[in-house]
Subunit: 480 residues, 2 copies
């Protein structure tokens, strides 16, 4: 009979086989994991580049793109649900003029005094520009530029300058689709691309080639082609407005750079109906303000926060329901900031509240200056005497609007917005002091009688006679 | 002849022994590493709690503490090298009045108009308070409170209120040691402790028990016992100033909370020699401003940035060379912010520059208001007419000083500092408009003749007659 061999050598063998066995099982598990990882990568890669049907050039119908890219399309379609841009997902629509009736005074004689609502989702872009109370038969086609992926086709057909020179209504039947796929993507490769001329031209004028931008830069630049300060410029051969869409970036993107730019042109958007000041309107300089904040400094793009990655099953894709990160904190802010959602929101809201305080203060001061200049006019002050106060109110309002018109309520660059609002307050202060001296020279030693503009309706009723008088004067002028 | 056994079993044995061998070596190495880690931990623990000699109660001589804690002592001693607080380690001393001559106007009639230099390291605290041009024979002992670890002994000997009521010179021989170990540490356990009454009292008045603070909170509170806004208050039984050191925190730590607090008292630090306004000086509200910034929000303490951990050999200890993190970016900011030192510095400097722009603007406006009130006085305006402008200049300057006097040049809470400076500009603007009307009623319809205060010397020469006249008037008043 042979007993089991109890020598150390044999025992060693047993344990070593056990180690091999465990290692084997471990390797097998690792293999499974690797396979799973690769599979998910493949799924994801496939989802990104697999066209089930080719997309024709200038295809503006978002649902055609949606055939190959259902997840992106479905999430884009969710911008339809954003029928009312609410503060943080609440149910009340936001009417800026009702919230800030002083704005009506600030825009007296300009269309913004009529209606100014917070924007709805991209899905509504074409409808909303068609239906805004700010539109009239004089509105140029330029106002379509950012509102529809039909625009590149029309620009290609008619030429860029010829497109801008038309009236808005000229293209009323051609524009059918709201902001969507073709606005940012190449139809063959899905690469990000700049589908409009103004941004490319602004880069070119600064000696920069936008085609050299990195993918991460493009994740902001496709937004920047619209979310910027712009104005309409140029004259046609027969002296009419060419309404060429232009970004005033030649000196940089700060409020000071814009002030210098418009001084050099010089450009005026409208004459103020109450104060007679030559005015400039700022248009949502979102990219410009963002560029001066900490997120841009750290290389975070617009899409990183407003279109964060999302998972469905094994597939990771970009959420195309472009919206405030506050409505999507976990997927957006949470990727970098490992704080509770409540902490994140409280921090953002605190920043926005401080911004709001400074905005209101600047706004109030500008409104009073317009009214005080009007009082000086009534007292008999000449245009010459009022040149300085009018120039200062123009500048003060431009600085205020740089912050007011940009989205994010100061969040994108809190200290820079505060600095710009500080400059605004300083400019309106200088204007008010100048104007007080003018009034004093005409015998006024007390404050003006401030009208009641505590609601949008009251403010609109107050400015109406000024606007009517201005319109009548312009009609008379036109007849001459 | 027996050939080597080539059976799989034997080959398996060879490889399994090899695996055992490698594993054995690995385990040995791991053991060494563990031993080394434990040793370093022990070294570190020992270094923190090992007293080579006991430290007596009220021991104020820092070198006695240094016997047991040489690393902490040596790094504390390095504050001696900070003989001139320079911007970022440069060689030029910083004279705030030379850099901002408008400050001389703002403090006309107050000691800060004489001398106001950036502070040197803690090592120099006792020397510098003894030698400042702001000190006079009237200076109370309260001014010693934060400057020396000799103070707790003297307060214990004489009583807190009796200490404050003395003159500064009364304790001239007793105070020997500059800010050091005993100011923050318990001599038996080295635990952090609050060695002065004012902070504890401020907490108690708000119903908070400072002894319940966590260690991390204490890493800020030991700084907060001095780096705060404070004032001297109370009267002795025979009606003389009790100069009791008090933090005006009862309504909170914002500029608005301080304004409300001083309105309720009401407290006045001095009467402005030019404008006759009742004034309040803010004293470095560092902890208050820090509390409103992102670092406090994220639970980062003063010590985390100003006294970061440091390694010498195997020992990690707290660097007691308390200084600007900009002089120590890698050990300080770099722990959390994995950016290049250059990126970090450029970000901080950009914040400080914007803060500086807003500070200067507020400062300028306040200086002009003081001068314009003086002009109104010359024109014959009564105290009654000037009540409102004087009240407004007091408030504007308080808000400005809340930011100006705090260390960090706006960095600790950039947007909050901007908000406070915006409020300051608003208040001085209101004051200037009010005063313009007063002047207009007395016949002035143009701006004042602004004196040249473009250098410290010119500004000091300008205010001298005003200060002399004020002193003469006070002397006459005292004789009555």
């Amino acid at each position: 009979m042979k007993a089991p061999d109890p020598t150390p050598h044999k025992r060693g063998s047993f344990w070593s086989w056990a180690v091999f066995g465990i290692a084997g099982v471990g390797m097998f598990a690792l293999g499974l994991l690797a396979a799973s990882v690769m599979e998910r990568r493949n799924e994801s890669v496939e989802a990104q580049v697999q066209f089930t049907t080719p997309i024709p050039d200038f295809e503006a119908d978002n649902s055609v793109w949606g055939v190959s890219f259902p997840r992106e399309f479905n999430s884009w379609e969710s911008t339809k649900r954003m029928s009312e841009r609410t503060e943080f997902g609440g149910s009340e629509p936001r009417d800026h003029l009702a919230e800030n009736p002083a704005m009506v005074i600030l825009w007296a004689g300009y269309a913004f005094a009529k209606q100014y609502n917070a924007p709805r989702g991209h899905y509504w872009a074409a409808d909303d520009v068609r239906n805004t109370a700010r539109r009239s038969e004089k509105t140029p086609a330029t106002c379509w530029s950012c509102k529809s992926p039909d625009v590149p086709r029309l620009m290609n057909k008619d030429g860029i300058a010829n497109f801008y020179v038309q009236k808005f209504d000229h293209y009323g039947d051609d524009v059918k689709n709201p902001i969507g796929c073709a606005d940012c993507h190449n139809n063959k490769t899905m690469a990000l691309q700049i589908s409009r001329p103004a941004l490319k031209e602004a880069f070119a004028r600064q000696g920069k080639d936008i085609s050299k931008a990195t993918h991460q830069e493009m994740r902001s630049l496709v937004c920047a082609k619209c979310h910027v300060e712009y104005y309409f410029t140029g004259k046609t051969d027969d002296g009419k407005p060419a309404n060429y869409l232009t970004f005033p970036w030649d000196n940089g993107m700060t409020a000071e750079a814009f002030e210098k730019y418009y001084d050099e042109k010089p450009h005026v958007d409208w004459t103020h109906a109450i104060s007679g000041a030559p005015m400039i309107k700022m248009q949502h300089p979102d990219y410009e303000v963002y560029s001066q904040g900490i997120h841009a400094f750290r290389g975070v793009s617009c899409a990183d926060c407003h279109m964060p990655y999302k998972s469905e099953g094994g597939i990771k894709f970009t959420d195309h329901q472009i919206r405030s990160p506050l409505e999507n904190v976990a997927n957006s802010c949470g990727v970098c900031h490992r704080w509770s959602e409540q902490d994140i929101k409280s921090r953002v809201v605190a920043i926005q509240k401080k911004n709001q305080e400074m905005l209101k203060r600047a706004e109030e001061s500008i409104a009073l200056l317009h009214l005080e200049i009007a009082d000086a006019m009534k007292l008999g002050a000449t245009d010459d005497e009022l040149k300085k106060p009018r120039d200062l109110v123009k500048r003060a309002q431009m600085y205020w609007d740089y912050v007011s018109a940009n989205n994010g309520m100061g969040f994108h660059a809190p200290q820079e917005c505060a600095r710009v609002l500080n400059r605004s307050l300083d400019l309106s202060t200088q204007g008010r002091l100048e104007n007080y001296m003018v009034r004093a020279r005409h015998g006024a030693t007390g404050p003006i009688q401030v009208p009641d503009f505590s609601s949008k309706e009251k403010a609109q009723a107050y400015i109406k006679p000024f606007v009517d008088a201005q319109n009548a004067a312009m009609a008379t002028e036109a007849k001459k």
